[in-house]
């Protein structure tokens, strides 16, 4: 999630979020495949169509399309394979949403609100 979120950042998460926040928001959720706590950005919400595998997927109610900020090239440059996001595990149901990330309270020089990325 570089450069907006860096390893070691201390983040505040709003756990009262009951539905997917607006596209561009950063969320914490449980990955559908592994159950692991993960952080990604909302790219699209229910009712929207997202490009996938040469075609489109229409998101059902309460589903979101979550993506990493890193491109495949950036991830590979850092020594990893492609980012694991909705391109891998597909749409994510709202039951797996933990909350919206809204503030970074550490490290000191990076304190500030986590803003939505422009659509």
């Amino acid at each position: 999630m570089l450069p907006d979120i860096e390893p070691g950042d201390w983040l505040l998460v709003d756990p009262t979020t009951r539905s997917w926040p607006r596209p561009g928001s950063v969320v914490v959720f449980r990955e559908p495949d592994s159950g692991m706590l993960a952080i990604k950005r909302v790219r699209a919400r229910s009712g929207e169509r997202v490009p996938f595998n040469g075609g489109y997927i229409a998101l059902r109610p309460d589903e979101a399309w979550l993506q990493a900020d890193a491109s495949v090239a950036m991830a590979q440059g850092a020594g990893f394979g492609p980012p694991i996001d909705s391109d891998r595990f597909g749409p994510v149901p709202v039951e797996l949403l933990i909350g919206r990330v809204w503030f970074r309270y550490g490290p000191l020089h990076r304190i500030g609100r986590i803003r939505r990325a422009p659509g």
Binding site: L37, I39, F80, G81, P83, G106
Partner: protein, 145 residues
């Protein structure tokens, strides 16, 4: 000391991951060789058959296989080999550059000599993989005999 104690009281208790795909760590030039052998055989079959439909199909399949060769060679180059391996294989980068270039050549060529040269270069990659401990390090139980 006090600051550190206060800070640790406010430190997050939960970690979330923005993780990317972790390489599985299994690498073997045999994957590239099988696809390169496929290219070799297809070139042979292409030369032995005059049917234009068959030849078109053969070219399509060969191009796909040659792309797979490039992919497998690239994975070895990027993910398996590390800077310290240059001590054991000083010509490592040149070898991989030649091998991927040769795979591109085979993709566009119907000359058996090009396909044979690709096999030779993959054998050199295989030797480099063995010289750096590849079979023991990257296969679950070594390469099957």
């Amino acid at each position: 000391m006090t600051f550190r104690r206060i800070a640790s009281a406010f430190a997050p208790k939960t970690t979330v991951h923005a993780h990317c795909d972790l390489p599985c760590g299994v690498y073997d030039p045999e994957q590239a060789r099988i696809e390169a052998e496929s290219c070799y055989r297809i070139v042979e079959k292409y030369a032995a058959n005059e049917d234009p439909a068959y030849r078109t199909r053969a070219i399509g399949i060969k191009e796909h296989r040659a792309d797979l060769v490039k992919h497998h060679i690239d994975v070895l180059w990027h993910d398996y080999f590390k800077p310290e391996h240059l001590e054991t294989v000083p010509n490592l980068h040149d070898l991989f550059w030649q091998a991927t270039k040769q795979a591109s050549k085979v993709k566009a060529s119907n000359d058996l000599a090009d396909a044979k040269r690709l096999l030779e270069l993959i054998d050199e990659v295989d030797a480099a993989w063995k010289a750096t401990g590849g079979p023991a390090k990257t296969r679950v139980a070594g390469r099957p005999g």
